[in-house]
Symmetry: D2
Subunit: 316 residues, 4 copies
């Protein structure tokens, strides 16, 4: 990730502010406010603003006049209770805003989380930066053979080299041609004074999906957790997980009590179906039950065994 001098200066300027406020603050989050935390080869995540902290959840759950309770233990118990019983509205009372730079094909996954506010850099209006995502060697994965939307082994050797070259060359050439069609370079210089440029809203169609875009993205704490639950999960595409992991760290700095409950109940927790419950009960009571008798499909059976770390019960 490389920012221009001007951008770095703007960030420094914001970070140098020390405003006085009666609002609650999250000191650990303040420390990294506005910072551009690198993601992938040219992307970043910046926390731009936030509202509320752990006490805000307690305060609104109780519809209290003051600031929830004084005792951390009581607040923590309530937050855990709310998380366990899927009480959603108190977690909506905190809000956070990010500035994110990310490849377009990842932006297209991300935007499917609808309960968020977004302003994206407009390629109808401006010229996109000349930056493309190129995977590192260890992330150049083959198509998974048993999961149609997953990754298998890493591709190596000559094939890896070829893939990276294709990606690089295609991105660069399509970008160069984008400039030629625009009759303008990304630095604003005109290519041929005697020509008109193609409309920006048209020229952009020549860019590849690994071109970087950027946006402001704002959401409440509940929907942030919904996002992280799906996107920081091991089944999520690696490239979006990189962003989710950075955001998980901002969650910890912002609302540490909620973060702990989120890890316990959502991230590392699991769901068990009615049929799955009977299987586990039988196991606990030392009774036998086979996959066939359980009513579970092989896939479902194995997912259950995997969730409870019962490796020897997995059926190949």
């Amino acid at each position: 990730m490389k920012l221009t001098k001007e951008q770095l200066k703007e960030i420094k300027d914001q970070q140098s502010h020390q405003n006085s406020t009666k609002r609650v603050t999250a000191p650990e989050l303040e420390k990294i406010l506005y910072e551009a935390m690198p993601a992938l080869d040219h992307g970043f995540v910046r926390v731009i603003d936030y509202m509320g902290d752990d006490t805000s959840i307690v305060q609104s759950a109780r519809v209290s006049y003051g600031k929830g309770t004084k005792k951390v233990s009581t607040d923590s118990g309530l937050i855990k209770y709310l998380m366990r019983h899927w009480h959603s509205t108190p977690f909506e009372m905190c809000e956070i805003k990010y500035h994110v730079k990310l490849p377009i094909f990842i932006a297209r996954q991300w935007i499917r989380h609808r309960t968020a506010n977004v302003n994206e850099y407009s390629a109808r209006y401006s010229i996109l930066d000349k930056e493309f995502y190129l995977p590192t060697a260890e992330n150049l994965a083959a198509q998974s053979l048993n999961n149609r939307q997953g990754r298998g082994d890493v591709i190596e050797g000559d094939q890896a080299k070829q893939v990276l070259e294709l990606l690089k060359n295609d991105a660069e050439r399509t970008y160069d041609n984008y400039e030629i069609m625009l009759n303008e370079r990304f630095d604003g210089s005109i290519i041929n004074e005697n020509k008109k440029g193609l409309a920006r809203e048209l020229a952009r169609m020549n860019l590849t999906l690994n071109t970087y875009t950027q946006w402001y993205w704002k959401t409440d704490l509940l929907n942030l957790m919904n996002f992280l639950r799906l996107r920081a999960d091991s089944h999520a595409q690696y490239e979006i997980r990189v962003y989710a992991d950075i955001m998980l760290d901002t969650l910890k700095r912002w609302v540490p009590i909620t973060y702990e409950a989120f890890l316990d109940y959502r991230v590392a927790g699991t769901e068990v179906s009615a049929k799955g419950k009977i299987v586990l009960q039988k196991f606990i009571n030392n009774e036998n039950i086979s996959m066939e008798d359980s009513g579970l499909s092989k896939r479902e059976w194995n997912e259950l065994m995997d969730a409870f770390n019962l490796k020897d019960k997995i059926i190949k």
Copy 2:
């Protein structure tokens, strides 16, 4: 509006905080933060938290690294442009949270604005305060004769007295019986030690719709303006307008540039239909056009004349 000593102390405590933050602040809004601004006879509006200011709108509209521009004039021009052309997403980048005490029948109107986050005081869980809304004499309006959901003249004399007495007596009696059914007074004292109380979730059904409830209500700036546009309008029910007017003042303190544009384009602006445009064009060109030829209904014609203050053209 009367708060308990404890509540007043909690509010004072919050107001005494002076935290340091790198976030943008709205100094005029800070001045009234947490304050309980009276509404109707027992209600209030309190601003609890906020995120962003006018510059945040500019910043995200431009997807900029820094804080929008330095010049107020440029920011103002952009905000007016965004408002005029119904650009919605930049206004979603600011957020505000209120604590409101209000009669249940008003809460039922208010909640229809769905794009907001709400935590209401739970009468399944707690006993509601013994407070009911009773209109003042000048707000005791008769049913309008020509608008099925509007108000006509004020009711006066003996009938006014009778109405107020009925409202007062019914609210008090149903509340007293609510306590009897609960076997518990609102101050927590038990009425009859030998009896069980009816479940709170049931007993509450005996309360009248003018009983006060309270909630935390959080929304973004765009949806706040949608709310205010409808609820601060002269066609809105008086009782909700009282709240909307207080909130309009908080809007002015929070985002003064947006507030001005909102007044100009939304509140005091008007819409003209395709047919209405032709009527106005004819007027401007000193051509004649009658209601019959315009294709407008009488009602629609009069709404148009009224909007443009053309009193002599209104058809009785």
Copy 3:
């Protein structure tokens, strides 16, 4: 529940229609379309319209040109997979619309499900029906002693009689006074020709929360299941559960495959936290673990034991 002759005729009229359509239909749901299914003492649930069926979920999950597959087994497997892995968007592709009559205090719970479309009968505009909810003897529950928002034993004898009388008398008297203030009876007759009536938007505040209202309520299948999961649950208030149970039956008629998966994974399934998983693993491996060592609170421990029907491990 009593409908007027006119209302019954309108329903019969609608039911007699036999339109031809190329859209998919749900034959079992068609059988009860428009029918007023009784709920509580004066309420009902009517299915007014719907869009899609089980095959629509499959069709959109596959973004196919035709109607999903022909084989029920394949469709069923996919729907179960989608449910298990919390894929949400395909379930949003079906839509249903209800007409519901319900007490106001239940409407206030219901409306908190925001992702739905609602048109409620307007008491600003019209006079509400003279109908109030009065619990039957067996639903007159005392406040629970250990759950602040739950019910305990049934109240009996004289106290029960007293409660019912208070509820009935207060509802009737406040309604009578509502009519007096309106200067109009619910059948439209004027009480005193020489008087003006109080505005409807004001008079309604005198009604008690068990007065019936009605609305059209439309939602997609995903959000219907979210609603039913919470409101058909044993922890939901009895009065809303009555409605949810009727709607569960309409779900079965509409999308039978989805209904089965919903029961298995959502209704009768359970969630296990990271700490809870370790407890169950120890049990399965015949290792000891105490509540103290588990990191679970007593309440949480008991919830887990209860979910897996391990009665002897519950700690009093």
Copy 4:
């Protein structure tokens, strides 16, 4: 637009269905149900399902037991009233579902309308079709000189030829390399049996933004009109307007009364700010007012004159 034989057969199959239903139907919309209406060079719009018609709006606005009124005139008056006064909820009571094939850069604009349900063809899971959008000669517009997000004159001659060639070649080459990286052709044939293919979720990043994707898109009538108001507008990008225009026609077939009101009040109507109202009033009263005195910016002044077709008052 070219569909495979199999796809055409699936569509024919669906169209041959004649199911019986008690639901309301929209006969004109039924006539084109499932039909693939061509859009741009390879795209299409198909109406897959719908719920409700004009009478459904009336029915829910009145919360009636039957089917609104019998008289079209009364229904029409109410629908116009609702549209004029921005009553939104009754229009949410109708729902429609489309299957759309469209270039990715248009999909990215479209998806910003959040209040809709979407299932998009997954390029993590499947290989995208080998189809790219290439503008026709008359749509090859230059960048506008006075509107940073608009189009100016058409580009012609050699430059036009060059642009089209660049677009075509880049799309084809990046697609060929996509296949090489996947080690699989779009028809499913393997390129080199001894190689693994790159994961689909990675390979897709090499595609250009004019590649076609497809989705199921479902929304309610209110949000469809919000979409059409913006996207069928002359300021919208041509390529999305093509889709919006086709959908406008489906609106007309579906809810003809609402369609008329929509054209009159939304599409061909205009908004006038508080300051703009004063200008028009002065004109009507034959008083003078200059742009300077009006408080309007030049741009705003001209927008107003343009809206009311007052060409001679436009300031160059």
